[in-house]
C-alpha cells in the first residue's frame, strides 16, 4: 500500500495524472479480461517463484532464475525443432522434461561452484543470466532463425501439437495447472520429507547441518536442480503457452520479479501462488500504463523495487514487535 502511494510523485514527474494511472491499474483487477490476462501473465512467475522457495529456504541466493528460465525455453524449443511432426502426447511431455533438465542443469552449475569452492552464488547466478540471455539471442539471430521470418530474430512458429492446451471453459493455458501442481509438490517436499527438513536445517545453520551428518554438496545440488528445473518449466510455459516460438527477449525479468514474490510469500510455495497472481496483475497494469498513458514499462520495476524495500524494512519491525504479556 505504501508502495502504491509512494509512486504518486513518479507519475507527477512523468507528467501523468496519478488518478488516471490508478484507474488503469484497477481496471486490470476488476474486469474478466483483465483477470484472465493477469493469470496468464502470472504463470511463469508462479512456477519460478515456487522453485525459488527451495534454495532461499536453505540460504542459497539463487538470483539466476531468469537465466534458468531462458535455458528451459531453449531446451523446450530444441525438442520442437528436432521432432516437429510428433503428436502432442509425445512432444508436450518431452518439452516439459527437457525444459526441466535445461533449467535444472543451468542451476546446478553455480550450486556446484558454491558447495565445492565457496564461489559467491549471487554473482555466478547473475553472470549466468546474462550468458543465457545472450545464448538465446545467438540462437534466434543465428542458427535457429526462421528463414521465412523476414530477418526478425525468432524461430518458426511452433506447430499446434507443441502448444500447451487451453484449460476448457477459459482462455488460460494449462501451464497454470503445472504451476499449481508444482506449488503443492514443493509444499509437500518442504513440510513432510526428510529432505525438506534438511533444507530448513541448512538454512538455519550450515554448521548444524554438517554435524547432523548431511551432505551439503548433495543437498545444494538437488535443491538447485529442482529450483532451476521449475524456472525451466516457466520458460517452457512461456514459449509453448504464450509466445509460441523462441524469440529475442521472451522474459521481461520474470526471474527477478519471482525473487520478490518468493520473499513476499515468506518462502511459502502456496503463498507464492497468491502473491504471484497479484504480481501478474501488476505486470498487466504495466502494459496498460504503457499503452494507455505512454509510460515506460519499467514503471513496474519501480513498483516492485519499492514494495521489496518496504517489505525488507517492515520485516525488521515485525521481528521487534512489542509483546504485552498478561499477568
Amino acid at each position: 500500500m505504501i508502495g502504491l502511494v509512494s509512486t504518486i510523485p513518479l507519475f507527477l514527474i512523468a507528467g501523468v495524472d496519478p488518478v488516471a494511472a490508478f484507474q488503469q491499474i484497477f481496471s486490470v483487477f476488476t474486469t474478466i479480461s483483465g483477470i484472465t490476462e493477469s493469470v496468464t501473465r502470472s504463470i511463469p512467475l508462479l512456477l519460478t517463484a515456487v522453485g525459488l522457495c527451495l534454495p532461499f529456504k536453505m540460504g542459497f541466493w539463487n538470483i539466476g532464475a531468469e537465466g534458468q528460465l531462458f535455458m528451459g525455453a531453449v531446451a523446450a524449443t530444441l525438442m520442437v525443432l528436432i521432432f516437429p511432426e510428433s503428436p502432442a502426447i509425445v512432444i508436450i511431455p518431452l518439452m516439459i522434461l527437457f525444459a526441466f533438465l535445461g533449467g535444472g542443469i543451468w542451476g546446478v552449475i553455480p550450486a556446484y561452484l558454491k558447495a565445492r569452492l565457496q564461489v559467491n552464488e549471487v554473482l555466478t547466478t547473475l553472470m549466468m543470466n546474462f550468458i543465457a540471455i545472450l545464448w538465446v539471442d545467438f540462437l534466434v539471430y543465428g542458427p535457429w532463425r526462421d528463414p521465412q521470418g523476414y530477418g526478425f530474430p525468432l524461430t518458426p512458429m511452433f506447430p499446434p501439437a507443441a502448444r500447451l492446451p487451453i484449460i476448457p471453459g477459459t482462455s488460460i493455458h494449462s501451464g497454470l495447472l503445472m504451476a499449481i501442481a508444482s506449488a503443492i509438490l514443493v509444499y509437500f517436499l518442504l513440510s513432510f520429507t526428510r529432505w525438506g527438513y534438511e533444507i530448513k536445517v541448512a538454512g538455519e545453520s550450515q554448521i548444524a547441518a554438517k554435524y547432523a551428518g548431511m551432505s551439503p554438496l548433495l543437498l545444494t545440488l538437488l535443491t538447485m536442480f529442482l529450483s532451476g528445473g521449475f524456472s525451466g518449466l516457466a520458460g517452457m510455459a512461456l514459449v509453448s503457452g504464450i509466445v509460441l516460438r523462441l524469440r529475442h527477449g521472451i522474459s521481461p525479468g520474470y526471474g527477478y520479479t519471482a525473487i520478490i514474490i518468493a520473499w513476499l510469500a515468506r518462502l511459502n510455495p502456496i503463498g507464492a501462488l497468491v502473491v504471484g497472481l497479484l504480481f501478474g496483475g501488476l505486470l498487466v497494469s504495466g502494459d496498460a500504463l504503457q499503452i494507455g498513458l505512454g509510460l515506460a514499462f519499467s514503471t513496474v520495476l519501480v513498483f516492485q523495487g519499492l514494495i521489496l524495500l518496504f517489505v525488507v524494512g517492515a520485516d525488521v519491525l515485525t521481528q521487534y514487535r512489542i509483546k504485552i504479556k498478561s499477568g
Binding site: Y256, T299, V300, L301
Partner: protein
C-alpha cells in the same frame, strides 16, 4: 603488418582504460563498503541511476561539473537507503541490495524514457602535457579525461587511507570484528554509514562516466551488469584499492577486446558470443579466486554481510 598490430594493441589498451574506469570507481567504492562489513548489492542500481542523473543534468544544463555532482549525490542517496536498512534496521543486506538494484533499474528506465536518442557533448579529453608524449603509455593513459586521472589518484589515496591511517584501521576493524572495535571506542554504525556512502558516491560517478564520457548517450539498462562485475572485482582485488586498478583495467580490456574484434570483422554476424566474454571471464575469475581463497584467507572482511547488534 607490425604497424597494424601495434596500433591495434595501443587502441585496445586505451579503450581498456576507458571501459575500466566506471568499473574502477564502483569497485573502489564497494571495497570501502565491504571493508566496513556491509555488502552492497545495490551497486547495479546505483550505477544506472548515476548514469541517468549525470546524463540528464548534462543534457538539461550542459554543465559537466553539475552533472558529475548530481550523479554523486544520487548515488549517495540510494546508498543511504541501503545503509539505513542494513545498518540501522539490520535488515537482510542481500535482499535490501537487490531491491535497490531493481528499483534503480526501474526508476532510471521510467525517468529516462524521454532522453532516449538524445546526444550530449561528452567529457572532453584532457591530455597531460609532456606525459602524453611518452611512447605507448602516453597514448594509453595520459590522453584520457579528468575522470580517468581522478579515479586513479582516488584509488591510490583511498588505498593509503585504508591501510596506512588510523581511520583506515578503524574501518577495517569494524569489518573484521565490530564488537571489538566498539569496545575500543570506534563508532561502528557511523563508520559503516560513511563507508556505504563513499561506495554510493563512487558508484554514481562510475555510472555517470558511462553516460557522459564512454558512450555519451542514454540507453535503458546501459550498465549491462557492470555493477555486478564490480562486486566480483572487489573479490578479485582482495578488497584492496590498488589491486582494483589492475582488475578494473583487465576487465576493461575484456570489454574493449570484444569491440575491437568486431571492428576488425570477427563476430560481426552474431556478436552475442563475444558479448558473453565479460560474464564468462567474471565467472572464471571468481572460481579461480575461490580456489586460492580455500587455501588462504585473502582479505575477505570477517563480518561482511552481518549486521552489528551490541551485546551479541
Amino acid at each position: 603488418m607490425s604497424v597494424v598490430d601495434s596500433s591495434f594493441v595501443i587502441s585496445l589498451l586505451a579503450h581498456a582504460v576507458q571501459a575500466g574506469t566506471p568499473l574502477l570507481l564502483a569497485t573502489v567504492g564497494e571495497i570501502y563498503a565491504e571493508r566496513s562489513g556491509v555488502l552492497n548489492l545495490g551497486l547495479e542500481g546505483i550505477m544506472i541511476m548515476g548514469a541517468l542523473s549525470g546524463f540528464l543534468v548534462l543534457f538539461r544544463t550542459g554543465d559537466l561539473t553539475l552533472a558529475i555532482l548530481a550523479a554523486a549525490l544520487v548515488g549517495a542517496l540510494l546508498s543511504l537507503i541501503h545503509a539505513f536498512l542494513s545498518i540501522t534496521l539490520k535488515a537482510n543486506q542481500i535482499v535490501s541490495g537487490l531491491a535497490i538494484s531493481i528499483f534503480g533499474l526501474g526508476v532510471s528506465g521510467f525517468l529516462g524514457k524521454p532522453l532516449v536518442g538524445q546526444i550530449v557533448t561528452r567529457l572532453p579529453p584532457a591530455p597531460i602535457p609532456l606525459l602524453q608524449d611518452i611512447p605507448v603509455l602516453g597514448l594509453v593513459l595520459f590522453q584520457g579525461d579528468i575522470l580517468i586521472y581522478s579515479s586513479i589518484i582516488l584509488s591510490v589515496v583511498l588505498w593509503f587511507v585504508l591501510f596506512r591511517t588510523k581511520l583506515g584501521l578503524n574501518i577495517r576493524s569494524v569489518g573484521e570484528n565490530p564488537s571489538m572495535a566498539d569496545s575500543l571506542g570506534v563508532n561502528v554504525d557511523l563508520t559503516r554509514y560513511v563507508c556505504v556512502l563513499i561506495g554510493g558516491v563512487l558508484g554514481g560517478l562510475g555510472g555517470a562516466y558511462l553516460s557522459i564520457a564512454y558512450t555519451p548517450l542514454w540507453i535503458e539498462g546501459m550498465t549491462a551488469g557492470r555493477g555486478w562485475i564490480a562486486i566480483a572485482l572487489t573479490i578479485f582485488a582482495m578488497w584492496n584499492p590498488l589491486r582494483a586498478i589492475l582488475g578494473a583495467y583487465l576487465f576493461g580490456g575484456v570489454i574493449a577486446l570484444q569491440f575491437r574484434l568486431q571492428a576488425i570483422g570477427i563476430g560481426t554476424e552474431t556478436p552475442q558470443l563475444l558479448l558473453m566474454l565479460p560474464y564468462v571471464v567474471t565467472m572464471g575469475v571468481l572460481t579461480i579466486m575461490s580456489f586460492a581463497q580455500l587455501k588462504k584467507r585473502l582479505g575477505v572482511p570477517a563480518a561482511l554481510g552481518t549486521p552489528y547488534v551490541r551485546g551479541e
